[in-house]
Each structure stands twice: as structure tokens, then as C-alpha cells.
């Protein structure tokens, strides 16, 4: 996983709430079996609307998305995270995220930044009045900076440490294999196994 420390880039204002994962990447593109190749599928149906924010050349190359509350609700499709990353996004800022999406994003190194709605409104106003404006997401200091605006955000120490170092969850867990084996020895023996289904 690519480490995330401090990132500065063009931010796009997505003035919509309840952006579910079906909108981030429509289900019909999920038959593709890799983690790459989704950049032109991101927000596919909305991008057919001429006034959709990502169609504005001023936001071309944007790497930060500023969205309304409940971004990434719906299906547990990690494709939504890959599509955002394939397009070039490194961080999404919103007042609230869908739980599964947020977990998927942080696992893949896409930083989800939770800021209150009034700060989001200020960011939207800034980005709309001055399209192409850059925003800095500083994970070291846990701050977002844009023009005169500075806002602190929260992220637990463990997730922050993992993102800063680009650590892989599986490697971290495999260091505890002996503990997992210990648990398996005291686990209830009557729990189901597929052996019961196939004889």
C-alpha cells in the first residue's frame, strides 16, 4: 500500500449527499476481475450529465474529492474505492461516510477525512468560486488546509500509523499466527464446517 503522509492537490466539490457505491461505480462494470481499469467508470452515469463537476476542465486532475454527508453508503463493493484511486483521488472529504466504504478506503490507502458540514460548505464555496484551488490533506498533523481555512480532523492512532507507513493488514495479522492457533484450540467444536455439507 502506498503510504499517505501529506498530500496537496486540486479538489473537486461534489455537492451531493447519499452518494452510494452504485453511483461511484455502477454495478454493470463489476464483472471486470482486476483492481485496475476503472478510471473511466468512476461516476459513469453522472459523467454523462454535462454539468457534472468532473466534466469541468477546471477540476481536471483533481486528487481530492469534497462530498456531502453519507458518502459511500450501499453495497460493500471495494470497486468503488479502486475506481476513485484509479481516477487519481488520494482523499475524500465528507461529513459522514458509509461504514463499509470507509473501511475499504482506509485498507487501500484512500484517506477518508470526516469534517463537519459547515466546513464542507466553506470548502465547496471556496472551490466553486476559485475552481482549480488546491487543498492540503496533512495526515501527520491531522489537518486540512485550503486558502485561509484550516480544519483539524480525527483519525485513530492505529489507522493513522498504518497509513503513514503503508502497512499491510495481513502481514500484521500473520505475525500473530500462534495466537490464532491457540484460539482455534479452545473454539466450540460444534460450529459448522463445510465438511458437514459434502459428507
Amino acid at each position: 500500500m502506498e503510504p499517505f503522509t501529506v498530500h496537496t492537490g486540486v479538489a473537486a466539490p461534489l455537492r451531493r449527499t447519499d452518494v452510494d457505491t452504485d453511483q461511484i461505480i455502477p454495478v454493470r462494470f463489476l464483472t471486470h476481475s482486476s483492481r485496475t481499469g476503472f478510471s473511466d467508470k468512476l461516476f459513469h452515469d453522472w459523467r454523462e450529465e454535462p454539468d457534472f463537476v468532473l466534466n469541468d476542465p477546471a477540476y481536471a486532475g483533481s486528487t481530492i474529492l469534497v462530498a456531502g454527508r453519507d458518502f459511500g453508503t450501499g453495497s460493500s463493493r471495494e470497486y468503488a474505492v479502486w475506481a476513485l484511486q484509479n481516477y487519481g483521488f488520494r482523499a475524500v472529504i465528507a461529513p459522514r461516510f458509509g461504514d463499509i466504504f470507509r473501511g475499504n478506503a482506509l485498507t487501500n490507502g484512500l484517506l477518508t477525512v470526516t469534517l463537519p458540514s459547515d466546513i464542507i460548505e466553506q470548502l465547496w464555496a471556496l472551490l466553486e468560486s476559485d475552481p482549480g484551488h488546491e487543498v492540503t490533506v496533512d495526515l501527520v498533523a491531522r489537518r486540512v488546509r485550503a486558502g485561509e481555512l484550516t480544519a483539524a480532523f480525527e483519525l485513530d492512532d492505529n489507522t493513522r500509523w498504518r497509513l503513514l507507513d503503508g502497512l499491510d493488514h495481513i502481514d500484521l495479522t500473520l505475525a500473530h499466527t500462534a495466537t490464532i492457533s491457540d484460539y482455534e484450540h479452545r473454539r466450540r467444536p460444534a460450529l459448522p464446517s463445510t465438511a458437514l455439507l459434502t459428507g
Binding site: R15, R16, T17, D18, D20, D22, Q23, P26, V27, R28, L30, T31, S33, S34, R35, D45, G68, D70, T73, G74, S75, S76, R77, E78, Y79, V81, R96, G98, D99, I100, G103, N104, T107, N108, S117, D156, D157, N158, H169, I170, L172, T173, L174, H176, T177, T179, I180, Y183, E184, R187, R188, P189, A190, L191, P192, S193, T194, L196, L197, T198
Partner: protein, 466 residues
């Protein structure tokens, strides 16, 4: 202080707990389907890792699969490739897979309970948010992403930050003609699409106790539509009776000991919930979604709200956009809106009781001209049972056939999908823009309302039929 049901199950699965770190939870059963998994297997191969417990892992084909003919090649080459990758990956890593057309094949959350895999007090994960369905058995069951699938395959564990506890208490009894689906839509309309975020919801109270296991599955299924990862219901005699004798249920030698343990799985009286919602079941009527989130729902006969009724400008804009997309008129009910397609299926409502309910409404009636009624059972077992009970004859006499098992138009990843502008009454769980096909308009309803709508040709409850 006492513990909630969720805390009891969680604590029993902690492999490792350390200050400042997420808990490492043991996973008792890992279910897989063909979408959201190829990348996880690629990851295992790339790192030279194996599957730690293939015996606690089960795959099925459900999302991309056809429902009309299961013996022909899948038309879409990408879907065909994904199903074939599932076959190849499961074979390579020694994982049992139920394939299209086989006896146990079906929607992953339908076959889990049907096979008796969903033990009270167990942890169940799957690459699908509606894994929450299996919380109806008092298990902790939740959806995970592809990277987490890879993690569980490699380690049989998952690092998880603690979730909060939320109680949804449903007092009183549901009136005649009001179902589990109406109840969960009413709950979501009350708490909102984000009301359960960061929480595990426990459903409790008289109306929940009175639901059948299938009704409880419908309720827990849509927990994710209220923003929650998981929904749970404490196991009781109905739970034990449902599980007894199923293939993966405990055998006679262990049954009593397991039931004795399962009886300890309830929320202690002095346990504290972080959030509580109380609903009076007796006031409910059939519910329907009018917008593009499941929370945008109302009683079938109620007028749809005006955008101006919402003070928050962002909310107002969202409602306006939803109403334009759905082509509905604020101030008028959606009852009476003509539909093109009625879909009965999905992991929310495709079990045998759902099909019986549909047959009850369709019996002696015909599907309205111009309406396409699709009935897709959740599993091949459900399909066989519907045939054994003669339900398929009722469906055929009404003008609809019984299809083969799969997610069908809920996921709209196979050929079953709406064309732009088409309106559907659907028993599935999501009505997002484009969910059932680009430009599709979905009204989420119960099986009874779906069947009545198919007969009337427009959104209607069984009570509206003459």
C-alpha cells in the same frame, strides 16, 4: 455491568485485544460469491499465501448468473469469465463451491441459513453487505470488502474496531396484512440511511418475537440500509426449531449442549445501548419507497413529501433530485402509479414464505396486461419446494413462470434488468439511481404488495384488489 447480545458474541471471538488497536476477531464461517472475490485470490497468489481454513469457507454462484436457463452458456463474456474464475479459484484453494443448477446453489444469504450454517453466537462474513441477514439467528454477520476477504482467507480473522450498540424495540403486534418488509422500511424511514452507522442494531420487542425466522431474516437483511454493518435478534425456540436437522446444524450428540449455550445469548437486563429507537407496530401499514434511498419511504397511501418541507438546503436538493429521477409528483401518493415490471426475489424476499405470500395474492387472478412479473427463488431448494407445493402452477396460471435461483434483478448483473425509464415494484433492498439498470425506477415493496401491484398494473396493496 451486563453485556448486550452483540457484546457477548463479539467478546467470545476476540483472538487478540491490545490497547489502541482494533480487536482481532475469529471468523467462524466465510461465504464467497463470484463478484468481489477474484482480486482477493489474485492477492493470495501474488503473496504466495494459502487459505487457512478451507473447511470454514464456502462459495456459491449467484450474482452474475442467469435465471431463465441454467444449462446454457452465460451470454456476457465478462460475467462468464468471473463465474469461471470462481470455479478455478475455489478448486485451486480447496474451497467447496455450489455451482449454478446444483441442489444447494442459491443466493449466498439464503443458502447459509437454509443449510444450517448460521449458528447463534457465531461470526459470519461475506463480500456482500446483506450478510447481515444471518443476524436473525443471533450471529454476528456482516459484509466485508475484497481486501478483507483476502485477509479472512489468509488468516481466518479480521481486525475490527469496536462497534456501538443500538436497540430497535418494536412493541405491539403487526396488523393483519403488514409484513416484516413493511416493518423494516418503516424503521429505516424513521432512523434514516445513516442512523445505524457505527452500530450493531439489535431488534427486540413483541413484534420481533412474533415474526417467523424468515421474517426476522428480512428485517436483519436491511440493517445495512439503516447504515449499520450488522443486525441481530436473540435466538429463541423458533431459532432452534428452524436449525434442528439442517445439514450443518449440530448433530444429535452435540445438540443439547449447543442449545444450552445458545440460550445464554441475549442482552442482559442491565446492559446499556448507545442508542435506542422504539416503534409501535400496531400503527404500521404497507410501506413503499418513493425516492432513491430506502429511507425515502412512506405508507403506500400517504402523499409524497414536498421538497419545501425540508429545512436543510442539502436535504431539499436531494429530495428534489430523487423526485425528478423517479418522475413522481410531490403531494400525491405513489399508490396507483403504473409499473412495467414486478420483481419478486433478492436475499431480502425470496424464501418459501415469500413465494407462498405471492401465491396467495395471485391465486385465481391474472397479471395485468403489459406487466412483466419475474419470480426468482433465493435458492434451488426454495425453487423445488415451490414446485412441490404447487406454487408454480398458481404463478403460471397468473401469467408468470418460476425462474432459477440467483440475485437476478436485485444486483442487475445478469440479463435481468430494467431499461431506462421503466418503473418497477420490487421486493429487493435498494432503490438507488440505476440500481436495477441504467435509468431504472425502483419502488421497494413487500412480496404481497408486489403481487397485488402485478395484478392491478399499478402500485397497490392486496386490500385494493377486488
Amino acid at each position: 455491568m451486563g453485556k448486550t447480545l452483540a457484546e457477548k458474541v463479539w467478546d467470545a471471538h476476540v483472538v487478540r485485544r491490545d490497547e489502541g488497536e482494533p480487536d482481532l476477531l475469529y471468523i467462524d464461517m466465510h461465504l464467497l460469491h463470484e463478484v468481489n472475490t477474484p482480486q482477493a485470490f489474485d492477492g493470495l497468489r501474488a503473496s504466495g499465501r494459502t487459505v487457512r481454513r478451507p473447511d470454514l469457507t464456502l462459495g456459491t454462484e449467484d450474482h452474475n448468473t442467469p435465471t431463465v436457463a441454467v444449462d446454457k452458456e452465460i451470454v456476457d463474456p465478462a460475467a462468464r469469465e468471473q463465474v469461471s474464475l470462481m470455479h478455478k479459484n475455489c478448486a485451486e484453494f480447496g474451497i467447496e463451491l455450489f455451482r449454478l443448477g446444483e441442489e444447494h446453489q442459491g443466493i449466498v444469504h439464503v443458502i447459509g441459513p437454509e443449510l444450517g450454517l448460521s449458528h447463534p453466537g457465531s461470526t459470519i462474513v461475506c463480500c456482500d453487505s446483506h450478510t447481515a441477514t444471518q443476524g436473525a439467528f443471533g450471529s454476528l454477520a456482516f459484509g466485508i470488502g475484497t481486501s478483507q476477504v483476502e485477509h479472512v482467507l489468509a488468516t481466518q480473522t479480521l481486525p475490527m474496531g469496536r462497534l456501538k450498540n443500538m436497540a430497535v424495540t418494536v412493541n405491539g403486534s403487526l396488523p393483519e396484512g403488514v409484513t416484516a418488509k413493511d416493518l423494516i422500511l418503516a424503521i429505516i424511514a424513521r432512523v434514516g440511511t445513516a442512523g445505524g452507522q457505527g452500530h450493531i442494531i439489535e431488534y427486540r420487542g413483541q413484534a420481533i418475537d412474533e415474526l417467523s425466522m424468515e421474517g426476522r431474516m428480512t428485517v436483519c437483511n436491511m440493517s445495512v440500509e439503516a447504515g449499520s454493518r450488522a443486525g441481530m435478534i436473540a435466538p429463541d425456540e423458533k431459532t432452534f426449531a428452524y436449525l434442528r436437522g439442517r445439514p450443518a446444524a449440530p448433530g444429535a450428540d452435540r445438540w443439547d449442549a449447543e442449545v444450552a449455550y445458545w440460550r445464554t445469548l441475549f442482552t442482559d437486563e442491565d446492559a446499556v445501548f448507545d442508542k435506542e429507537v422504539v416503534i409501535d407496530a400496531s400503527t404500521l401499514t404497507p410501506f413503499v419507497s418513493w425516492g432513491t434511498t430506502p429511507a425515502q419511504s412512506a405508507p403506500l397511501g400517504d402523499p409524497v413529501p414536498h421538497p419545501e418541507a425540508f429545512a436543510d438546503p442539502v436535504e431539499r436538493a436531494a429530495v428534489q433530485r430523487a423526485q425528478e429521477y423517479m418522475d413522481i409528483v410531490p403531494g400525491r401518493p405513489v399508490r396507483g402509479l403504473p409499473v412495467d415490471v414486478v420483481f419478486i426475489g433478492s436475499c431480502t424476499n425470496s424464501r418459501i414464505e415469500d413465494l407462498r405470500e405471492v401465491a396467495r395474492v395471485l391465486d385465481g387472478r391474472k397479471v395485468a396486461p403489459g406487466v412483466d412479473l419475474m419470480i426468482v427463488p433465493g435458492s434451488m431448494k426454495v425453487r423445488q419446494q415451490a414446485i412441490d407445493e404447487g406454487l408454480n402452477e398458481v404463478f403460471e396460471a397468473a401469467g408468470a413462470g418460476l425462474r432459477f435461483a440467483g440475485c437476478s434483478m436485485c444486483a442487475a448483473l445478469n440479463e435481468d434488468r430494467l431499461t431506462p425509464g421503466q418503473r418497477a415494484a420490487s421486493t429487493n433492498n435498494r432503490n438507488f439511481e440505476g440500481r436495477q439498470g441504467k435509468g431504472s425506477r425502483t419502488h421497494i415493496v413487500s412480496p404481497a404488495v408486489a403481487a397485488a401491484t402485478a395484478v392491478a398494473g399499478h402500485l397497490a396493496a392486496p386490500a385494493d384488489l377486488t
